[in-house]
Amino acid sequence: MSRDQRSIPGAGAEARPPQGVPGPFSRIGFELELLAPRGSSRAQLAHELSERCGGTVRPVFHADSEPSLVPGMGQFLHLTRGLEVRRDDGRVLCTLVDDITIVGDLDQRAAPRPGWYRVLSDDRRLLRLVAAHADPAAPLETVLDPVAALFGVQVQARGAVRRVNDGAGATIALAAPQPGERERPCEVVTPPLERDHLGALEELLAPARELGFVVPREAAVHLHLDGAPFRSVHAFANVVRLFARWRDPLRRVLGTNPACVRLRPLPGDLLRLAEDADSGGRGWDELRRAAGGLGLTKFFDVNLTSLLAEAPTRDTLEVRILPGMIWGPAVAGRAALVDGLLRRCQDPGPLPSPPGDLDAACAQLERMARAGG
């Protein structure tokens, strides 16, 4: 083993299942929030990963929203630079994007670094139009040119900012340098992983550790599991029971990060609805329609919106309460636990209620996970 490999623990270590902790069985897509060291960026990790697999890096637009300072406007919608890494055979290895919840470790007043910018709009449809026509690899100075051509206008420049107004003077979009070290947050988005989850995760995380990436303060890891098995009354009801009734033991066993702001318990009404449906009151379609009226968004402990949608863009159940991690075995071990519990949820029998004692509930949760997996 070379010195470089040994200088950081785990670097270059052969991936193998952690002792005593089986990996998950199901197909799972992972989202892991990391932070590049000061002076570096997610682009550095993208290039490192592509070099290691002999693949390519391609800039992509990542759409998200940010709080607006303009009175009367709750949020701006924006596109920021993400990097898609592909293997030499063209398969996607991962995509690295910004995550706007990561702020605590950043110097908000830091000057923008060359090449990093965002495109802002106040309308989702316009922003999608911009994303469809602009080149994510283009520099700030020219990124809006195709959009201006679409509207038959010129791009306006004021300092470093570029703006496109339509013929009536209404703003379509503007591009501005991105200050505050926003190039450092690095959400690693994997494609769905079917097997050897640990090996696949370490392929991404070991280089990140070697480059000095760390787990930021507000970090989480999100798991995306195929949604189809949970689109039935009993499975859906069990998932709701798991995340509602077992919330405290589940968060304790997984070590949920208290600094994660976009998490909430499932509404009590949803639990009542699911219990009622499972005891014979309703069928799946009726349950789905009724649950759809409860104002669920993705920002809960578990994101069930795809299960309730008619034609979801990404048909997954998303578990959002895993803490930030940069070590593969910790990610795979927790994912296995969640996977085991969600497999148990697919059994027809209703998930029991947890015992009152938290320690006992945690132990029972673990037993259920093992039995389910």
Binding site: M1, R6, Q19, V214, V215, R217, V253, P323, W327
Partner: protein
């Protein structure tokens, strides 16, 4: 990278562990803290630790005569212990062989003696581990890194290091990254990565990274350590380096220690290396 949970040389860690374990067993047996079914260990660490309650020891009728190894091992399995339990006991009893651990455990069962609970034996180490901010999941990571038999064994090994003020690789929770900071301090003080390799060998640590972090942690706390130049000039270290540079390994040093009737493989490395520097042959090949 392999985890050395059974130091056989004269390192501080090995001596300390050997000296302390029997006392603690005696203390616990005296206090009536008897065995816990070992199979309940190795689950979600702090949860299980928190909920663990001592249960009566597994006892059997005293055997009329000394049982054979096979009989002892059969008793071990019949009492529903697992291979993982045997591995943990081997670690705790500082035995080289898991088979020996099964035999000794089986003998105790047949004699009606309680088996020590690793959870209790390792309580200091586990407490040090959790107090430093690590979690059960970090022990999963460390078990993977060190090739430990179980997360429990890794937790005990990590706790022992922490008690010896040797830094342990960072946890996901420790974003400040004490380990990396200590390594940076090591390099900033003028040591080279090669120094880390030699020091790891010298101190019988798991990796050069651990050695760098150990020196760096001392530097950050203002504890004096040999400056890098002294490290170069130290004839003892020079011998160790010559030994390693010639391609010899820790196992070779152990073999030489046996041949020369020396206690300490590191001293053996230094003596052997000095011979090499003096142009003298060694009795074994690299």
């Amino acid at each position: 990278m392999t985890q050395d949970t059974t130091p056989t040389d004269g390192t501080r860690r090995g001596r300390r562990a050997r000296a302390r374990a029997p006392q603690r067993v005696a203390r616990m047996v005296g206090a009536g803290l008897l065995a816990l079914p070992l199979g309940t260990l190795g689950s979600i660490g702090d949860v299980t630790l928190a909920s663990a309650t001592p249960v009566p020891a597994i006892t059997a009728q005293p055997a009329p005569s000394q049982p054979t190894d096979a009989e002892a091992q059969a008793a071990f399995w019949e009492a529903d212990y697992t291979l993982s339990d045997a591995e943990q006991l081997a670690t705790l009893w500082q035995l080289d062989s898991v088979g020996d651990a099964k035999t000794r455990a089986g003998q105790k069962i047949l004699q009606g003696l309680p088996l020590p609970s690793p959870a209790d034996l390792a309580a200091d180490e586990a407490r040090a581990f959790y107090n430093a901010g690590y979690s059960y999941w970090d022990s999963v990571v460390l078990a993977w890194l060190w090739d430990s038999p179980s997360p429990q064994a890794a937790k005990v090994a990590a706790g022992a290091k922490l008690l010896d003020r040797v830094p342990v690789p960072p946890s996901d929770d420790l974003t400040a990254d004490v380990y990396a900071e200590a390594q940076a301090a090591f390099l900033a003080a003028g040591y080279t990565p090669e120094d880390g390799i030699y020091l790891a060998e010298l101190w019988n640590l798991d990796s050069p990274g651990d050695a760098k972090a150990a020196v760096g942690a001392k530097l950050l706390e203002g504890i004096p350590v040999p400056p890098p130049d002294d490290l170069d000039a130290d004839p003892y270290l020079e011998g160790v380096r010559a030994f390693l540079d010639a391609g010899y390994t820790y196992a070779d040093a152990q073999e030489l220690a046996g041949l020369w009737d020396m206690d300490n493989p590191v001293d053996t490395k230094a003596r052997a290396g000095q011979k090499l520097l003096d142009g003298l042959p060694l009795p074994i090949d690299a």
